[in-house]
């Protein structure tokens, strides 16, 4: 068998399938957040794109790029498929989040960090596991890493040291009804993982 380097690609059926798998996973994540905060989480249609890592900021269509953000990233790996989840949290969301979480402490950098970690572990964990379940992959998650607090999106993305060139990017923009909370969850799969993921997807599409 000869080894050929096939270009990573994504056809319309595959894109649709990723979108639907994400739809189910983000619904599970939203359900957990809704029960924790006693709110209704507005669910968008997730965006799925195969992009150059250098164009990552283009994948973030819904985030308000001018406002100050805080971000957490967390790696995941399983069955030879690896990626990173990136949660971009709008800084204006913290006061409402603190109120909903009955956070008693002072809302300084550390208080915000605590809230950010709570929300990101819940949303990232549920989303990753939700996608994994549907594809019969168990993903192990790495430690969450804070990429920055009170930064601009462009600066946060610059700090990511991605070794791969192409990435499958799935973007989910969560908002919560009646309160000012919005955040962007990005799932980025490595270039090497996309072929394996596509195989799994093709099996579902058969």
């Amino acid at each position: 068998m000869s080894v050929t380097s096939t270009a990573v690609s994504l056809n319309e059926d595959q894109r649709d399938c990723y979108q639907e798998l994400t739809n189910v996973a983000m619904g599970q994540a939203a359900d957990r957040l809704a029960r924790l905060l006693d709110v209704y989480v507005v669910l968008p249609i997730p965006k799925v794109n195969l992009i150059e890592s250098s164009d990552l900021h283009m994948a973030i269509q819904d985030a308000e790029t001018d406002s100050a953000m805080s971000a957490v990233c967390q790696g995941f790996i399983g069955s030879g498929i690896a990626g990173e989840a990136l949660l971009l949290f709008n800084d204006t969301s913290f006061s409402d989040l603190a109120a909903l979480m009955n956070y008693g402490g002072e809302l300084d950098r550390y208080g915000e960090l605590e809230l950010l970690m709570d929300v990101s572990s819940l949303l990232i964990g549920a989303c990753i596991q939700g996608i994994g379940e549907q594809l019969e992959i168990h993903f192990n998650q790495g430690h969450p890493v804070v990429l920055g607090q009170h930064c601009k999106v462009d600066d946060i993305l610059k700090s990511g040291n991605h070794q791969w060139t192409k990435t499958l990017a799935i973007e989910i923009h969560y908002t919560i009804e009646h309160v000012n909370i919005d955040c962007d969850l990005l799932l980025l799969f490595t270039e090497d993982s996309v072929a394996k993921l596509n195989n799994k997807i093709n099996y579902l599409l058969d």
Binding site: C17, V24, G27, Q28, D31, R35, V41
Partner: protein, 124 residues
């Protein structure tokens, strides 16, 4: 006579999954719609005696479809099939007149159970 069943979902993958979950012995004509606007049109044409309805869709979402069915008093029994499993979502669709709620990914046994429970699938 075969029942007109409408599967309304923006994902072709989800439509296929749903079509596969319909019990084999149930005599149906299956119709498809890719968003809420198409869905309402199909229901007006009588193609949706039983509707499997997604919630998150472009153009018109599932809530919009339920509101239109109610406003125009269209003859459709709606089973919502959605990934949005928040308690609030389930409450809202029931208040808007949906008969049942099934969470995604759709499972054939669950579909059969719901159809039997509401007397849509009889005998067998």
């Amino acid at each position: 006579m075969a029942t007109n069943v409408l599967i309304c979902d923006d994902s072709s993958f989800a439509r296929k999954q749903m079509a596969r979950a319909i019990p084999k012995e149930w005599e149906v004509d299956i119709h498809f719609a890719g968003d809420g606007v198409e869905g309402v049109q199909a229901i007006r044409e009588g193609k949706g005696e039983v509707v499997f309805l997604d919630l998150t869709m472009p153009n018109m979402d599932g809530y919009g479809v339920l509101e239109t069915i109610r406003k125009e008093d269209l003859p459709a029994m709606v089973i919502v099939v959605s990934g949005d499993i928040q308690p609030d979502a389930q409450d809202r669709v029931r208040k808007l007149g949906a008969m049942a709620f099934i969470k995604k990914p759709i499972d054939a046994d669950k579909a059969r159970e719901v159809l039997t429970e509401y007397g849509i699938l009889t005998g067998a």
